[in-house]
């Protein structure tokens, strides 16, 4: 079986740290989001613990991507180019079939480039809401330096971006972990050796797979 490298060790490491930070942030944030999640705080020793952990995790949530952007500016630019690339017919067709595909894996999906069009749309929402949640969170943290009428708006912005981020990350986790049948084994890309088999590559990203083979 032939293996193709899809994600580097550095990318996997960054993803893993950010995964831990995000998980901590959601756990500790949900505890305060609604009374029905109060048990989350009780499990770990109360709101004193969750609120400190929320800030500690926030440092990694914001710091890790910042470092990644600074030290791998070219990689960042390339990533931006990929997710904001112009759409062709296959990309549009992929989006049209994506929801039916989720409920019927037999759906034939059009060939895709390195990042599927659906993943690109998810990336817009994930990056956008992550940016908003980070900025609003920073203002809430440094509240004494901002006027109150401004700080007040950060709470709904923080929670709205949390809802958007949460919904997309649930989908991201479902697909990426390979719980979704056609995505079985996909966890290896970020949580394993970073490789996919040629057959997997052809199934998921046919255009990318052919491009890699040509080189």
């Amino acid at each position: 079986m032939e293996w193709i490298q899809r994600r580097s060790a550095v990318a996997r490491f960054i993803h893993f740290i950010h995964f831990l930070a995000t998980l901590t942030l959601f756990y500790t944030g949900l505890a305060l989001y609604h009374p029905i999640f109060k048990f989350l705080a009780d499990w770990v020793g109360g709101f004193g613990v969750t609120r400190v952990a929320h800030r500690a995790a926030a440092i990694f949530f914001i710091g890790i991507p910042l470092l990644a952007i600074i030290f791998n500016w070219r990689g960042f630019v390339e990533f931006m180019r990929e997710i904001f690339a112009p759409w062709d017919e296959d990309d549009k067709e992929f989006m049209r079939r994506f929801i039916p595909y989720l409920f019927n894996a037999k759906t034939k999906m059009p060939p895709q480039k390195k990042i599927k069009s659906g993943q690109r749309v998810a990336d817009w929402f994930i990056l956008g809401s992550a940016l908003l949640i980070a900025l609003s969170g920073l203002v809430m943290w440094l509240n004494v330096y901002f006027p109150k009428p401004f700080v007040r708006w950060m709470y709904p912005i923080h929670e709205l971006s949390m809802i958007v981020l949460g919904v997309f990350l649930l989908g991201h986790a479902y697909l990426g972990s390979g719980l979704f049948q056609p995505y079985r084994g996909m966890y290896r890309v970020m949580f394993g050796n970073g490789k996919v088999t040629e057959a997997e590559a052809r199934y998921h990203w046919q255009k990318w797979a052919e491009e890699v083979k040509r080189k």
Binding site: L32, Y33, H34, P35, I36, K38, G46, F47, G48, R51, L102, F103, N104, A105, K106, N143, K148, P149, V151, R152, W153, Y155, P156, E159, L160, M162, I163, G166, V167, L170, G171, Y174, L179, F180, Q181, P182, A199, R202, Y203
Partner: protein, 259 residues
Amino acid sequence: MRVGILVTPTRCTACRGCQIQCKNWNELAAEKTVNLGTYENPPDLTFNTYNRIRFKEREEETGVEWFFFSQRCLHCKEAACEIVCPVGAIYHGELGNVILDQEKCIGCKYCVENCPFNIPRYSAILNKSSKCHLCFDRIANGLMPACTHTCPADALRFGERDELIQLGKERVAKLKADGYKNASLYGETELGGLGVIYVLPEKPEFFGLPPSPSIPASVSIWQALKPIGLVAGGATVLGLAASFLLNAGYKKEHEGGEE
């Protein structure tokens, strides 16, 4: 029954016995303050200062007119602090007073940021917030709040809210007759009716009070998002679970599955 305090700035002599009695009864430590070039002291409410007299002055043809304004929690019926408190530490007592339970407070500062009157204060040392609770402990035992108990000028009067409003209206009428054309009763209907009602000799803005206070729009949106988030998250989980169950056992072509 709902109780309250009627504040009449034109009766106040700025003796500030109310400040002292409040600290005395609530065992609130005194704090070092700074001289800002005015008799007003302390310069702001703090975690340990639930009420204070603000000095507002105005130049008249006859000289300077001084107003002494008691700044404190207004015990709103529709209280933004109570709405935003995520742990239910802020609640309405039986007599309409808004009480902050420091045992439950987790120091999130939501009340500090969202109060339309900028009243609650936060202590970083204790990681708690505090504010006036209308001496709910004294009222429950048949006493009046400490500040009203000590006021020698009837500038702070404790009583049944309906009666206070009647008296307040009379005092406003008297002020108007005396030439205070901007006099008004503040708190009768604001935010569902405030527990602290002011007989204002000037416009509310003059004393730093919002002319028509309301629950901030951001607070309403924020609270509405909570059930929306639960539904969105729940629907996503259900949808993904359906996807999982519907595709159980599926194999791709290269895994030996059929097209």
